[in-house]
Amino acid sequence: MKKLVSVLLAAMMALSLCACGASAGSAADGGAKDAGSGASDIKVGFICLHDENSTYDLNFINGAKEACKNLGIEPIIKVNIPEGQECYDAACELADAGCSFIFADSFGHEDYMIEAAKEYPDIQFSHATGTKAHTEGLANYHNAFASIYEGRYLAGIVAGMKLKEMIDAGEITPDQAKIGYVGAFTYAEVISGYTSFFLGARSVVPEATMEVTFTGSWYDETAEKEGATKLIQDGCVLISQHADSMGAPTACENAGVPDVSYNGSTEAACPNTFLVSSRIDWAPYFEYAIKATANKEAYDTDWTGTLETGSVALTDLGKSVADGTKEAVEEAKKKLQDGSLHVFDTSTFTVEGKELTTYMADVDTDPDYKGDHEAIKDGYFNESGEGMRSAPYFDLQIDGISLLDTAF
């Protein structure tokens, strides 16, 4: 047996050595072609938690490809990298391969990116959704996120318009306007997302309520599908999600329930029930950060994309949206941009029956979960605000939303 396997390996190695020669040759050809354009002399690497089957990762992969195409470089993309030492290994392997900008896309990658950043001080490391860059004090470690709560709010308006249409048509009564939401985990990023979505819907239908179920995983198609189905059976007439598979949209399509998805359009798979999807367009950030890296300039430790930077985007509307949706969204978008409308306006929601006047948010991550920054400013909750951090920290349970299965 031992002999057998060693021979097998020897054979494979021999075969592949020939192959190595071949592939090295073709890589060199590729390099030569790019040499003409702008930032093309640098290599960039991307680390993704899952592969293109996850809408979340696909959104990053598309963003990376777009940004790199604009800059005339070829990205190295590593997929299915778990949130463990594998992430550190992957980051270091990319560094060894000559990348000068390395990016990771999942919350749990953060600690491992920090470890890699400490080891390679001359290489820029960026991490999406993370919370530690502003306190870590590393010049080459960066966080980035976008004010996606604004996108969620706009998507919520689309949902609200649909609910209103159903009420006006007599399909449901106003108190049956219950939204279902499939979330992954019970921390701020998800809470901020479903709350902003809900507030958007409630700005159209004041009677709307919401139920949220949690799966305890970013990508679990079965659990997400079951979660959505359960919510529909529970009487939810519209579904949205913050988890990364096609589970919830598929359940909606099967049940004929309108769906607001996330990270990108699901219209191709769910043509009858798809309303809209909000997503973060990562291309602007990638271009900004890679250009800065190529020019050896410092760039933001903690970067927040907005509607202005083109980072917060809505997909095209599905064909089943209510009349007037487009106009309502445009109007709200304009108000959000000129500052006359705030998503977390404290006059629009209550916590335990009371309006919020002060709240210490847990902006600096530590094991004590103590609030350390005042988040209420000029009558609104200052999410992803100046001097705070890009990743969401809105973690309040507002009235009108009930949580199911929080102990996943």
């Binding site: 021979v7 050595l17 030492q85 921390y187 995983s217």
Partner: protein
């Protein structure tokens, strides 16, 4: 009534023991066939030159110094778990609870690192974690062993179910220790103080696992082949009645062996948490407790033969990521190739043990 004797087109017959040379040739044929099939599949399904894919696999495992170290480290962990399961298999105790035994070992280590930070010196934390992990793993092996010895319960089911308990236990503690609350992640434990992080041998963070695994493998070979315990294990495995006849205390052997098996799995868990990942998740063992079962069987319970067997699997895993990156192929494609190669390797044993005899044409009709 006239009886017709129908001779089938072919039939199987048990072979005499083949010469080493012939066995070797059969295995080579199997491997070449597996590689050819993989190549064909690659070319047909993806249109990519299979030689380039094979090259990428090697690049993924040995493309740089770091990659080589990581490959060796992964190999050492899988080997350690395989070797740990082996004494149980040798006595025909179907321990498929390696996953759970590794997990509780890891959980014990994580608990020591989290709870003892800044309370006692790092060296002591390491020592305490080592003891805790080994005890936790041993306990996870002991429970099914005692039930088997006392009440003759089914150890396959028992060890399997212990895996689920271990997974749930870990997810319970993840929720207690998670940072931030609700994220489902502990993150790197003691990232700044490095309290309880296992020592680095020869200045390399990869070395500890490799050395531990090498020592355990040699130990296990000697233990199984040259010790009285090892002999007792072999006898219990071959025939319970013989063991009874020669006066071996079977219950004692079962319990003792599972304690050893579980303790070594716990040790693997300690390395995974204390030396490699510095965190604990429900998936930290990554199915290696099950893969190790296959490695142990493929190697016919010989600890040294397990080295190339485990290497094959680790090599393919490491290569999987590389072909995904280089060719945009889903890493599952490498799993398919691994499956084909394993199928051929295990399948060729059939042709070593049996021969196919075809019907002779002359006078075949009756």
């Amino acid at each position: 009534m006239e009886k017709k004797i129908r001779v089938p087109l072919f039939h199987l017959a048990k072979r005499e023991e083949l010469s080493k040379k012939k066995k070797f040739i059969i295995r080579i044929i199997a491997i070449v066939a597996a590689l050819l099939l993989c190549a064909l599949l690659t070319a047909l399904a993806t249109g990519i030159n299979p030689l380039e894919v094979y090259g990428s696999l090697v690049g993924g495992a040995f493309g740089s110094v770091r990659k080589t170290w990581i490959t060796l480290q992964d190999l050492s962990i899988l080997l350690l778990i395989s070797v740990a399961l082996t004494p149980a298999f040798t006595m025909k105790f179907w321990n498929i609870g390696g996953e759970g035994q590794v997990l509780v070992g890891g959980l014990a280590t994580a608990a020591c690192m989290i709870l003892l930070e800044n309370k006692i010196p790092s060296v002591l934390i390491m020592l305490v974690s080592f003891i805790a992990a080994v005890l936790a793993g041993a306990l996870w092996g002991l429970i099914p062993a005692v039930c088997k010895a006392k009440w003759n319960t089914n150890e396959t089911l028992m060890t399997l179910m212990m895996n689920y308990i271990a997974t749930q236990l870990v997810s319970f503690f993840v929720i207690i220790w998670e940072v931030p609350k609700g994220s489902g992640k502990i993150g790197i434990i003691n990232q700044n103080s490095h309290d309880g992080w296992m020592v680095q041998l020869f200045g390399s963070k990869y070395m500890l696992c490799i050395v531990v695994s090498a020592v355990v493998t040699v130990f296990m070979y000697i233990y199984l082949n040259y010790s009285k315990h090892g002999y007792e294990i072999q006898v219990v495995g071959q025939s319970i009645n013989t063991a009874k006849y020669v006066g071996i205390n079977i219950s004692k052997v079962i319990i003792r062996t599972m304690l050893l098996s579980g303790a070594l799995c716990g040790l693997a868990g300690m390395l995974l948490v204390g030396s490699i990942n510095h965190t604990i998740t429900t998936t930290i063992a990554g199915g290696q407790g099950f893969t190790a079962v296959m490695v142990s069987w493929m190697a016919k319970f010989n600890p040294f033969t397990m080295i190339p067997c485990a290497f094959l699997i680790v090599f393919m895993n490491r290569g999987a990521g590389e072909i995904a990156t280089n060719f945009g192929l889903n890493p599952s494609f490498a799993d398919i190739m691994t499956g084909i190669i394993l199928f051929f390797i295990i399948g060729c044993e059939f042709f070593i043990n049996y021969s196919i005899k075809f019907r002779k044409m002359s006078g075949g009709r009756s």
